[in-house]
């Protein structure tokens, strides 16, 4: 049903006159369950990544949870502000930007002579935390 509605929306998007599109684009953010989902997912990922790194470091799922966090969260923190409404592109961009951000932070610390994977992770966690909180703020201010 959701896919049908999305196709219908794309179809109507193509037929919508430009002036209507411009008016619609000025409207505030449309709030749906998925709008809340992403910052919640980022917060939960931060909690999981922190737990498996600092508390249960010997746990079997550690590589998977950390890979999930490193490959998705930093990018998704940024991409959600783009409001692309294209799931595939959003996830692809999140993946690409996550790798780029992870590498830039790691690279800066390495060239500065402060190489420490734990510190890199802490910076990324902080970045994602701020981004997720900002997403909540934007959603909350749009919903009132």
């Amino acid at each position: 049903m959701a896919r049908k509605l999305k196709r219908l929306r794309n179809y109507s998007e193509a037929l919508l006159p430009a002036e209507h599109r411009a008016q619609r684009d000025k409207l505030p953010l449309r709030i749906s369950w998925s709008t809340w989902l992403y910052p919640t997912m980022i917060i939960l990922s931060i909690v999981a990544a922190s737990l498996v790194t600092f508390v249960f470091s010997g746990i079997v799922v550690r590589p998977f949870l950390l890979m999930w966090f490193l490959f998705v969260c930093p990018g998704m923190t940024v991409v959600r502000f783009f409001q692309l409404n294209e799931v595939v592109i959003e996830w692809l961009l999140a993946f690409a930007l996550s790798i780029a951000l992870d590498t830039f932070i790691a690279g800066i610390l390495l060239y500065a002579g402060w190489w420490s994977p734990i510190h890199i992770l802490v910076i990324l966690i902080g970045f994602c935390l701020i981004g997720a909180i900002m997403q909540f703020v934007v959603i909350y201010s749009s919903s009132i």
Binding site: L8, Y11, H20, R21, F95, A96, P117
Partner: protein, 669 residues
Amino acid sequence: MKSTLPANNRIPASSIRCVTCNAIPPSSANFCGICGAKLDKRVKAWSIGSILYKSVLVLLSLTAFVLWFLSLRYVNLQHMTDLGLVSVLPAPSIFALIMLVVSFCMALHQKKLFEPLLLLHLLLLIFMLYGVTTLVEQQPRFSIVYQHAGITEFIMRTGTVDPYLEAYFNWPGFFIFSAFLTRIAGYHDILGYATWAPVYFNLFYLAPLYIIFTTATTDKRIIWLGLCFFYLTNWIAQDYYSPQGLNFLLYLLVLAILLKWFKRQASVTSRQQPTMRRRLGRLSPFIGSIYEWLTAPDTLLTPVKPRQRRTLLASIVVIFAFMVFSHPLTPFFTIAAVTALVVFGRITPRWLPVLMSAMTVAWAVFMARPYLAGHLAAILSDIGQLGRAVTSNVTSRVVAGNPEHILISEIRIVMTCIIWSLACAGAILRLRQGYRDVNYILLAIVPFSMILIQSYGGEMLLRIYFFTLPIMAFFAAALFYATPAKELLVPTKMTSMLRAEGRALTGTTSLLVKVMIGVVSVVLLVGFLFTRYGNERVDYVTNAELAGIRHLYSIAPTGSLLLAGWDETSWQFQGIEQYRYYVLSDDTDLSHALITKNVAPIVQFIESSKTPKTYLILTRSQKAMAQRDGLPPDTLDQFEHALLTSRKFVLVYNNIDAQIFLFIRSTGK
């Protein structure tokens, strides 16, 4: 203008769907407003027949997968010849692959295209084509992966990069990320997850390829067949755990974003076009018409808000910065593609290639200076040397090696010619039918310009093949579905803009074309098994080989000279700066000494090196490589015997696939 749309801008859903482009038109429509195809209202979304047909195809694909998986138990790598993996693949596994491809072709020709079914086929195909080596082999394939493991290990251990030690450290982005990921995820080295790289890289390529193809056509059949062709012809094997494997994904993503959201609007191009066309037309009518074709407004524009446009551009710049940081070659392919699109007015903004070039030059000048200082003369001497580039890229690859390897090289050339010919025919056909594929033709042509700049150690043509493959696969698929571009029958604002994309009104394909698609797909599949895995006897690494090399590191003191008899040794995965590495076959005299079993020149070389200890290692991969290069099969075995009888070497480790010799220095001196 008063809109005729309902107040909420929504059109009621209908139970029918366009068989060509899968759009859901309003229930009252007779023609699809997106692609112009006539709507067949007799085709119901979920009739009993279609459910049964889909179920059969799902079962067929899953049966093929199970059959393939079970048959892999009978693969015996020790019996492999220089024809590669295909020489040991059981017949049922090849039959299963053919079954899957045929099932995909059947799914492609349902009256109502069901994309999840096609996706299932493609996912299984990717796993079966690219995951087979991981399942049947003991360790990650390719000796270069072990070198990448060593670069990563250096960063993990020292927390620095040394641009003077290895060229990789001049573009270290990928390895810095690897080092961080490996350490933080709790792995010892990259080998644990690098082995699955071909599978996950190819899975990741799927999404940007799909987006690129959807910017070119609304015909889903071309899109899915193009995707299938891409995976059946991606034999270049640049998708192992490497910077280029990841950077190719980013290259595709940048192109996908630019082609989807940054095409120039019709209103922008039409202002200057008539004047310029008139001026050029006065010079030559042909040039005028070429100009008109090149600058014609694009179809299939995706609406984008200015804010989204800015953020997407910022994303492209960030992603490109990572490319510049992590690979020397991919930024040049990206700049070439973006420049061509900008120069011919296909995309905006115009400053993007300038910024990309500035970033690349800045990195080369400030960060990759150690590499440039040592290689600048060689790089500059390569520019414009087309003859030398062709010799190193094609001729030397085809004539070198034993007869089986030469056959593999010839099959690769034939398969390349087949996909390029199909693409060329497809592009010409679409051109004649009235489609304006300027963007895609530019993207297919521009990478070839790179061979004028660099031979890239004889690999440039392979890279060009890789970077042009997505577009070639698209045009090859379009050959089977190209139908005249027609004026759309429902003239709306959007459809008049999309008129060049008008598809066949019936959306049906003749039986002959269906059979042709099946035959071509199976030919490409069989060719793939030879082209992709033709060097597998050399490329695979056994547990015994790796155990031998690990033992070497455990006994060799720091500063030792480590010698390999021939190429393709899976070493350097630890302590790359702590040892001196040398391959005897890299030196003409030493290589000749090895072939003639004359140990004296090798002893002389070792004694002149003045290292505390010297170890010589011979492995299964080296023997396979020497044999592939045309030497008799027992050359390295006889050399091994010569080493022992010379009394200058003593065997300190021996297993089925690796032998380590310690050089005994003469005490008299």
